[in-house]
Amino acid sequence: MPIRVGNRARGDFAHAAPCERGCPPYDAALRAMSAETLTVEVWRGAATGAFQTFTVPRRLNQTILDVVTEIQRDQDPTLAYRFACRVGMCGSCAMVVNGRPRWTCRTRVSEAAGTDGALRLEPLRNFTVVKDLAVEMTTFFDKWRDAQGFFEPARTPAADFAVVPPATPARKAADEAIECIGCGVCYSACDVVAWDRDYLGPAALNRAWTLVNDVRDTAREKRLAAVAGDSGCQCCHTHMSCTSFCPKGIAPTYSIAGLKRALFWQALKGGGK
């Protein structure tokens, strides 16, 4: 049987004969959807602007990114938003959906919309808005640099491969925080960033914590100095919004707590200022 490419929910196969298998549950799920259309309010503008309302057909397994893409392709090509991989790897499609920061490619409409099919899409909080749903990420990544969120090898190449047993406490701590995709959801969710624009933020501090636990890295002292200070890890109030919203299930709050502990002991031993 030839393989057909298309979207059954959109009616691409309406002319085709009923399929032999898989259709009944699929059709039942489609019928079970509470709304046939979605009412989508989308932020238009930059720092100032207004919400524009679109009506989008409800489809099976529809993601928030599908909704935005459909609006941009079928209704308003001037809508600005950002995405790349569509599979939760690149971290570029995050937005605020019904008040919660989310990665939109992996968020289904059924998770985010109410039973009335209402959606409100806004750009990430705590970022400068470029246009509509696209935000300027420069400050966010500058803070990764400011937190020494990059690996610093020794001046001379290692004689052999570093052996890092996975079961060591340092490697375990790094593993727990290493999967960050830089989507900015935690930064958008953080109240401390909203209060203090200089605060390094959960993502940069989480990255620094992975490197503090990297036995091959040679800049531990410099990194701890970078994440201390008036805009560093000690500003964290442990609200845990970053941990609550992180789509990758990382707990930046614990990473920040680790940095606080490291600095605490360093200060107790007379190091740091």
Binding site: W195, A228, C235, F264, A267, G272, K273
Partner: protein
């Protein structure tokens, strides 16, 4: 907040957790039988244990409160820099002076 301020705030918080609990328990215990202020002052007068306990309390407060206030001011106002630190150093000294004045008042009154 620098690591040293963070350390001072956390250590003073640990001291205050015990000091506040001791303070509250003492108050509840003291007034339980209907003691008057005069009765209480008669017991605290010349009591070195009382003096030492509340001296530690005052010193911990003088460290803890200005550091916390500095964080609050930095988060909620644009005030930064040396003038903020100087103002809070004055606040710390004021807490020390007023606190020890009260301690001496009930220890040696």
């Amino acid at each position: 907040m620098t690591p040293v301020l963070f350390l001072a705030q956390r250590l003073s918080a640990a001291v205050l957790a015990l000091a506040v609990a001791g303070h509250l328990v003492t108050i509840l215990y003291a007034i339980r039988g209907g003691l008057t202020a005069g009765d209480i002052l008669a017991r605290t007068h010349g009591n070195l244990a009382f003096f030492a306990f509340y001296s530690v309390f005052v010193v911990a407060v003088a460290f803890h409160a200005p550091i916390g206030l500095r964080n609050v001011i930095r988060e909620w106002t644009p005030w930064r820099g040396g003038s903020l630190d100087a103002a809070l150093a004055v606040f710390a000294v004021m807490l020390l002076v007023l606190g020890f004045r009260a301690v001496f008042a009930v220890y040696a009154a």
